[in-house]
């Protein structure tokens, strides 16, 4: 074959390849570098919230003749984009395919578990997380997700075991401390839960965290600790009228009526028309004035639930009700 004939032959083969690609969708084989570039571009798009564009990149990489190992790594990324878009059905299909191709990989169990958790198929989520936890006991994220699911279904002892393990592994994990505090609180160990919440707010200080802590101490009638926590809540940020209101309740419960009134005034100053403060102020009026009528005028229940309480107040404050058996 002459050189000219060989050139002619190569052109013909190239033409056949191009026509084949166009007509039958034959995959164009990409170099390893090109594929890696596509995947890293996809990652960047995913992180930027452009899930559909990210998926195009991942799929292009997968269409570029991936090795088995590459396919195992990249297929779940496509599932991740569907999951991020809330398209759980397609995500499930992709994750299931990825799982079938790589069942020994703990991440494939976690993908499915997370998806079942998102669509609230709890028994399946528990099954997959539990298996993942068995395969890799060092994964705190898995242990915590499983603990949260156990807690949700009332399996508090199992939830606690996992959460305790997670906290032991990393005591500075705020969410682990929070979860364990929730579990302890639900198990009736209020003192333990309060200590745990102390640790949690020391890791991440927030008004909400201190409010939770204060309410937990208040439930146990540990007034000074509760008050201190509410004070910290007030200092931690724009917490509105609630810290002052809760402190007023503590003062009221201890018979410190003047202090309670001052704190209620502070709560109402922070949020004019704050119903709980108005309610409690009037209730203290009923207590101190005995049978005399207490007006609910000016008390503005913003919703039917508060209206119910306003009605109770009106009924209790009415002179005709006093002394009725």
């Amino acid at each position: 074959m002459t050189g000219a004939e060989r050139r002619e032959m190569r052109r013909a083969l190239l033409a056949i390849t191009l026509v084949g690609s166009a007509c039958f969708g034959w995959a164009e084989s990409l170099s390893r570098r090109e594929k890696e570039t596509l995947v890293s571009e996809g990652d960047a798009l995913y992180k930027g919230g452009q899930f559909s564009a990210a998926r195009d990149k991942f799929q292009a990489a997968l269409a570029g003749g991936p090795s088995r190992a590459e396919s195992r790594r990249w297929r779940p990324l496509v599932g991740r984009t569907f999951e991020a878009e809330g398209n759980y059905q397609k995500a499930l299909t992709v994750y299931q395919e990825a799982f079938d191709g790589d069942p020994k990989n703990v991440d494939r169990w976690i993908d499915l578990a997370r998806l079942y958790d998102a669509v609230e198929i709890d028994d399946q989520a528990v099954r997959f997380y539990a298996e993942a936890n068995k395969k890799d006991t060092t994964r705190r994220d898995v242990a915590l997700a499983l603990a949260a699911l156990y807690a949700q279904s009332g399996r508090l002892a199992e939830a606690k075991t996992l959460a305790v393990q997670a906290v032991r592994t990393e005591p500075r994990d705020y969410s682990a401390q929070e979860l364990l505090a929730d579990i302890e609180e639900r198990s009736g160990d209020l003192a333990g839960a309060a200590r745990r919440r102390e640790t949690a707010v020391s890791l991440r200080s927030s008004a909400e965290g201190y409010m939770k802590l204060g309410r937990l101490w208040a439930r146990q009638d540990v007034f000074d600790m509760a008050d201190a926590a509410f004070v910290r809540a007030g200092q931690a940020g724009d917490s509105g009228p609630e810290p002052s209101f809760e402190r007023a309740v503590l003062a009221w419960r201890q018979g410190q009526i003047d202090r309670a009134r001052d704190l209620l005034a502070d709560a109402e100053k922070r949020a004019p028309g704050y119903f709980p403060a108005g309610f409690l102020r009037r209730w203290m009026d009923i207590q101190s004035r005995g049978a005399r009528a207490v007006s609910v005028t000016g008390l503005s229940p913003g919703d039917p639930d508060c209206a119910r309480w306003a009605g109770v107040l009106e009924s209790a404050g009415s002179p005709s009700r006093k002394g009725k058996p």
Binding site: S153, G154, R155, L156, R186, G188, L190, R215, A218, R219, D221, F223, E242, F245, V249, W252, R253, Q254, G255, I257, Y274, F275, P276, F279, L280, W283, I286, Q287, G290, G302, D303, D305, C306, A307, R308, W309, A310, G311, V312, E314, S315, A316, R321, K322, G323, K324, P325
Partner: protein, 328 residues
């Protein structure tokens, strides 16, 4: 409708709330929490008498334990417990001072062989010679845990319901040995032999009244919380004469129970309908279901308790709830 009418309707009694969570506004929740913190420890004379009705239901009734755990955790004062069948056993233990956590521990381990003389040989005897099984061990099991207490010794007023198999009367047991009474109340007919009790021959109270709300009202409960664990009848096999007859009895019983439930102020109905009365080995599932149901119901129950306690405290001779004395 005026505010007063709304509140009047809600406080008029006979109100039954479902176990569905009632999401109140955060501001209303703050009021409820404040009032509840103040009134939960009122002396009994200044608040309504709180009654707890524990229905029958065999293994399903172990869900009561999960509910008790939540009530105990939230420090709900219980003044009266009335139970039927498994409700009588759980109620007897709780009324005698055993904590919900300890009852949970017992329920996790208990099997029919702890409560009856169940064995292969006994089952053959039951089938061949129609000799019923004995529940003597159930009484011994209870005695081992609460001793030989009589009703008068109990920390919480307690009553349980049994059926006189000769007369068909519902018998409210409130005197004598608690263990014997609870055993009689939980003696399922057709499997276990009746329990002689004074001049009577007693079987399971569920035959006449599986949800003894009426009894609790008669015993003075002002505010009645009912724990009810019905079966899902549609799951039962009704392929032959015997199962058809059994199903008919279940339907009758459940129809009556649904009526009884309406007399409660608050209903907690754990979802254990797929568990049969004999599946004691599913105790954990039942208790978890009870805990979940009670936690879901707690915000609404707390609100009801806070309202009723507050209302009674104002109306009582003692007047308004006094501020608490700070603890040293």
């Amino acid at each position: 409708m005026t505010l007063r009418t709304v509140v009047g309707t809600l406080l008029a009694g006979g109100l039954v709330l479902s176990t569905a969570s009632v999401d109140a506004s955060p501001e209303a929740d703050r009021v409820t929490d404040a009032v509840w913190a103040q009134v939960r420890s009122l002396p009994a004379a200044q608040r309504p008498k709180v009654g707890l009705v524990l229905s029958g239901g065999g293994a399903r009734g172990l869900a009561h334990i999960g509910v008790l755990k939540v009530l105990e955790r939230e420090r709900v004062p219980i003044d009266l417990i009335v139970g039927t069948s498994v409700g009588a056993i759980v109620g007897a233990l709780y009324a005698s001072g055993v904590s919900a956590a300890d009852i949970e521990g017992m329920a996790s381990e208990v099997g029919w062989d702890h409560l009856t003389d169940l064995s292969s040989a006994r089952v053959v005897r039951l089938l061949v010679s129609e000799r019923l099984l004995s529940t003597q061990k159930m009484e011994q099991y209870l005695q081992a845990r609460i001793g030989d207490q009589s009703f008068a010794d109990l920390k919480i007023q307690f009553a349980c319901l049994a059926t006189d198999v000769r007369t068909g009367e519902g018998i409210v047991l409130r005197e004598g040995s608690v263990a014997l009474a609870a055993r009689a109340s939980a003696t399922m007919p057709g499997i276990f032999e009746p329990v002689p009790f004074r001049h009577r021959l007693l079987i399971d109270g569920g035959v006449v009244d599986n949800v003894p709300t009426e009894v609790a009202r008669r015993l003075g409960a002002d505010l009645l919380i009912c724990l009810y664990v019905p079966a899902d009848l549609s799951r039962n096999n009704v392929s032959n004469v015997l199962t058809m007859m059994t199903q008919a009895l279940y339907i009758q019983g459940q129809t009556l129970s649904e009526e009884r439930v309406k007399q409660a102020d608050f209903l907690v109905r754990p979802d254990v309908s797929d568990i049969s009365a004999l599946e004691l080995w599913r105790s954990k599932e039942c208790m978890e279901a009870g805990l979940r149901a009670a936690e879901t119901a707690w915000p609404a129950l707390k609100r009801l308790l806070a309202e009723k306690f507050l209302e009674r405290s104002v109306a009582s001779p003692g007047g308004n709830p006094a501020p608490e004395v700070p603890r040293p």
